[in-house]
């Protein structure tokens, strides 16, 4: 198989991660920063699934090389990882945006550079 080399995915993930980090670093708007973080989490997920697909052990490896066993992927670790990350991303977005809303209420602003004090 391997119609697509693994490193293509890694490149895309690296790009997503860097762009997301850039957004998180430079955007003034707190919501935009959260979006950047979501992008970074997506990049991580792409990596996890790509590695699951390409390098996770197969049934042949698990059963021993001498046995006539098909090359099935054993284990769902990468997918489980991705699913849990998605759940955490949702939780993170929920709380993060709630904080943004609460801050907006007290500051009338979305701008992070103005949020340099944690006292309400």
């Amino acid at each position: 198989m391997a119609m697509i080399p693994l490193w293509w995915y890694l490149m895309v993930a690296a790009g997503l991660f860097t762009i997301g980090l850039y957004g998180a670093l430079v955007r003034k708007n707190a919501v935009s920063v959260l979006m950047g973080i979501e992008l970074m989490l997506n990049a991580v997920n792409v990596n996890a699934v790509a590695f699951w697909r390409y390098v996770s052990p197969t049934a042949k490896a698990a059963a021993g090389a001498d046995r006539p066993v098909g090359d099935f992927v054993v284990g769902m670790d990468g997918q489980v990882f991705a699913v849990v990350v998605i759940a955490l991303a949702a939780a993170e977005a929920a709380v993060g945006l709630a904080m943004v809303i609460a801050l907006y209420r007290s500051r009338r602003s979305f701008n992070l550079p103005q949020m340099d004090q944690l006292q309400g």
Partner: protein, 118 residues
């Protein structure tokens, strides 16, 4: 069951052509006489006051919030449901705990009035 995403890719392309064809046909057929009155914002004939990008109340956010978390719950619920009849009772216990914890959240939201639409 053979997963066939290739077909879905084709269908997606086709699906995008439908509105585009509609728009193109309409662009050929329709008249085009814009005017300043026509292009005003529709508000039953009244002048609009203020910008329409208004601020909404927090209730919307609370609904979306609860929705997101329950949506994530389904992500775990579906694989469980599909695998369930082949699993030991432990799986049922796990899911009862899982749902119980989330139900606490729902009850909390309920009691805190996050489910009230006022």
């Amino acid at each position: 069951m053979v997963d066939n995403w290739g077909f879905i890719a084709v269908l997606t392309l086709v699906a995008f052509t439908v509105p585009l064809i509609g728009l193109a046909l309409s662009w050929l057929l329709r008249p085009h006489r814009p005017g300043p009155i026509k292009q005003t914002t529709y508000e039953c004939g009244l002048e609009t006051i203020g910008d329409s990008w208004v601020q909404f109340k927090v209730q919307y956010y609370l609904y979306a919030l609860i929705f997101v978390l329950f949506d994530v719950e389904t992500v775990f619920l579906y694989p469980w449901a599909v695998a369930f009849l082949g699993l030991p009772l432990f799986a049922l216990v796990e899911m009862v705990i899982f749902l119980g914890i989330l139900a606490i959240g729902l009850i909390y939201a309920w009691r805190k009035g996050a489910l009230e639409w006022v």
